[in-house]
């Protein structure tokens, strides 16, 4: 029984839940740095073995045993797990607003989109992508929404900081002056 085999067995049982580095270290009674090296070895082993369909994925701070990217086409019709399902445009808009502006109330999401978002929020909650994270201390005490750990897994990232930089997409704000100029010419 090598460490690699033990890791493989544990990760196989954990499945889509995955295991964190700390959990693995506690179970195997080895230092986390050693585990990290073994995990890298295991990932390499899978990668080099052309007759293996498995790969190692790190998302939401835990390691998961998954199938290789190349098998996506084959498995698409067979497997329909929540993490592999895509979202509607409305849900995507709401999810991106919550992801970048969390914690945020439903009314603020509505204002940005210009349309009621309660349906989309309910759907995202049912999927486990967003959750209620306390209340805003104002009149009405509205719910605040934030993203969950599953959201990180859904995007395949470990930290909210890994989200796409907003500034890479935004248009510069300084153009406002141009608008005022054209207005005074009227």
């Amino acid at each position: 029984m090598t460490t690699l085999a033990k890791l493989e067995a544990l990760l196989f049982l954990a499945g889509e839940d995955g295991l964190t580095l700390r959990q693995l270290a506690e179970l195997l009674e080895l230092p986390p740095t050693g585990i990290q090296q073994s995990l890298e070895k295991l990932a390499n082993k899978y990668e080099e073995d052309a007759s293996s369909a498995l790969a190692l994925l790190q998302s939401s701070n835990s390691y998961k045993l998954v199938t290789k990217e190349a098998f996506a086409e084959l498995l698409k019709n067979y497997a329909k797990t929540p993490v592999n399902q895509s979202l509607s445009r409305a849900s995507l808009e709401v999810l991106s607003i919550i992801a970048y502006k969390q914690p945020i109330t439903r009314l603020e999401v509505d204002t940005i989109r210009g349309v009621n978002s309660s349906g989309a929020i309910a759907k995202l909650q049912a999927l486990g992508l967003v959750t209620e994270a306390g209340k805003l201390e104002t009149i009405g005490r509205p719910n605040l929404y934030a993203t969950t750990d599953f959201f990180l897994d859904y995007l395949g990232i470990n930290d909210l900081a890994e989200l796409i930089d907003v500034s890479s997409i935004t248009v510069k704000e300084e153009e406002i002056s141009l608008f005022d100029e054209t207005d005074t010419n009227d």
Binding site: T67, V83, R113, G114, V115, A126, Y154, G156, D180, D186
Partner: protein
């Protein structure tokens, strides 16, 4: 009309579509023309007796307010109120545009993640295990309603519902 109304995610999306036709910076857009186009869209849709979400009507009244205030002469000492309304609307469209783009980025990022498949956690059972009794009636209720909501949504996505009169 070249685009189905149903394809828009609310009035800001429609405005963004109209604004983007000018292919200039968002703050250079001739807003009065866009307002007229917007109202024309809404009027056509009403003539065709299509169902319009309430939000489109609210936006129509806001646009009419902006347009009518623009026609009135300006008070000298006041900070022009109509400019504020206009600037507010433009920044609203701009912010909506940003999140619409971000939504697409998230979808692309998720598509990459969705290529990896996994299996559910294996339920281990052994004799030494003891029940924890940390779940209540509320947990049971929430768990079942979550499954129901999930299924209902995926059903709605794949079926078109036609409401009776």
């Amino acid at each position: 009309m070249d685009i189905k109304f149903k394809d828009f995610e609310g009035p800001l999306d429609l405005l963004l579509h109209l604004v983007s036709k000018y292919e200039v910076d968002i703050y250079d857009v001739p807003l009065v023309e866009v307002i007229e186009q917007y109202l024309a869209y809404i009027a056509t849709l009403q003539a065709m007796k299509l169902e319009i979400a309430g939000e489109y009507m609210v936006m129509a009244s806001q646009l009419m307010l902006i347009k009518s205030r623009k026609l009135l002469p300006k008070m000298v000492e006041e900070i022009s109120y109509e400019d504020d309304l206009e600037a507010d609307l433009l920044s609203q469209i701009e912010e909506y545009k940003r999140f619409k783009a971000l939504g697409q980025e998230l979808a692309a990022q998720h598509d990459q993640r969705a290529k990896f498949y996994s299996k559910p956690k294996t339920e281990l059972i052994s004799d030494e295990m003891e029940l924890k009794y940390d779940k209540t009636v509320v947990d049971l209720f929430l768990a079942f309603s979550k499954v129901m909501a999930d299924k209902q949504d995926s059903f709605n996505d794949s079926h078109t519902t036609v409401a009776a009169d």
